[in-house]
Symmetry: C2
Subunit: 166 residues, 2 copies
DNA sequence: CAAAAATTTGGGTATACACCAAATTTATTC
DNA sequence: GAATAAATTTGGTGTATACCCAAATTTTTG
C-alpha cells in the first residue's frame, strides 16, 4: 500500500500536470530546440550529439547546456553529458505537445506536414500554454499529430491542478 | 484612357500583390508593432505618438524609425515625422491581414478575441506569408476578423504575381 | 525671440545566439 | 601507463535586437 502511494507520487512528479505554474514562454526558441532534441534522443546526451544535431559549434552548445542546467531543466555532468531533470522532462513534454498540436492545427489549413512542422518551429516558443490547452480541448484532445503521438499529460484535465508536497 | 491606365498602375503599386518577393519574416516583432501602429494612425506620424503608443522611450522610437526608413518602409523627415512608403503600405497591409487571420483562427479554438489578439501579437512576426495565404484560402477568405475588417489585397489571387516595371 | 516641447544623438546595458582559439578533461592506442 | 587523439569547456568577440538616460539639436509657442 505504501508502495503504491509512492509510485503514484512518481507518476505525478514526472507529468506536466505537476507544474501548473509555467506559462510556456520561459524559453527562447533555440533553448526549446535543445530540450526537444535531448528528450527525443533520450537518456544522457553528449555535447557533440547536440552540436551536430542542431548544426552549431560545440562551444555554443556547451554554454547553452550550462544555462539550461542553471535554470533547472538539465543535469549537467561536465565533460560527460546532460539529461533532463524532472522539471525538464515535464516541461519538454509540454514543448513537444505544443509543437504537435500546432503542427496538426496547421495541417487543417492546407499546409503539408513538413510545411506545418517548419512553420511551427519558427513561432512555437511564443505560444502560451494557456492557448495550447484551449486549442487542445477544442480539437477534442487528438492523440496523433503530424510528428507522432501527442502526449496528453496535462491537457486532459485542465481543471485539476495537482501539486507536489512541500 | 491614358489616365485610367495610370490609376490602374497606382492601384497595383499600393497593393500587397505588387511585392511577390517578401516572405513575411523580414521584420522583428517590435518593428511589426511600429508599422502596424503607423498604418493605423494614418498619414504622417510623430515620434511622440509612437513612443507613447508603444510605451517606449522617444529615443528608442527615433532609432527604430530610422532603421525602418533605411530598410525602405518609411519616409522619415527628421524632426517632422514618418509616413509609410509604398512598399511600407503594401507590407503593412500584409502585417495587418496576418494579424487578423491568425487572431480569427484562434477564436475558432476557444480563445476570446482579446486572448487571440494578445497571443497572436507575440508570435505573428514568425509566421510566413505562404502560411498566411494558405490559411486564408482554406478559411474561404473571410472578410471580417476579430480586430476589424480583413483587407484582402493579395489573398484572393495567390496565383497572380504582378511585378512592377523596372 | 526666448522658453518650452519635441526629437535626435551619443553612450551604456541586457539578452540571444553564434564563432574561434586556447585550455582542460576524458578516451584511446601503442 | 604514458603519449596522443578526441571531446568538452572557457575566454574572448561579434552581430542583432531592444531598451534607457543625458545631452545636444531643432521646432514650436507664448
Amino acid at each position: 500500500m505504501a508502495n503504491n502511494k509512492y509510485r503514484f507520487f512518481i507518476f505525478l512528479y514526472m507529468n506536466e500536470q505537476s507544474y501548473p505554474e509555467f506559462t510556456g514562454l520561459e524559453l527562447s526558441p533555440r533553448k526549446v530546440d535543445y530540450l526537444k532534441f535531448i528528450l527525443e534522443k533520450g537518456g544522457t546526451v553528449r555535447t557533440t550529439e547536440i552540436s551536430s544535431g542542431l548544426q552549431v559549434d560545440p562551444s555554443t552548445t556547451s554554454k547553452t547546456l550550462n544555462e539550461l542546467a542553471n535554470a533547472g531543466y538539465l543535469n549537467h555532468v561536465p565533460y560527460r553529458g546532460v539529461d533532463l531533470t524532472e522539471l525538464g522532462k515535464a516541461y519538454t513534454q509540454f514543448l513537444i505537445r505544443r509543437h504537435r498540436i500546432l503542427s496538426l492545427l496547421l495541417t487543417h489549413y492546407g499546409l503539408s506536414s513538413e510545411e506545418a512542422c517548419d512553420e511551427v518551429s519558427r513561432f512555437e516558443a511564443f505560444v502560451s500554454r494557456d492557448a495550447v490547452d484551449k486549442i487542445c480541448s477544442s480539437m477534442g484532445h487528438p492523440m496523433f499529430g503530424v510528428c507522432g503521438e501527442i502526449s496528453h499529460g496535462k491537457c486532459l484535465h485542465e481543471e485539476t491542478h495537482h501539486r507536489l508536497p512541500e
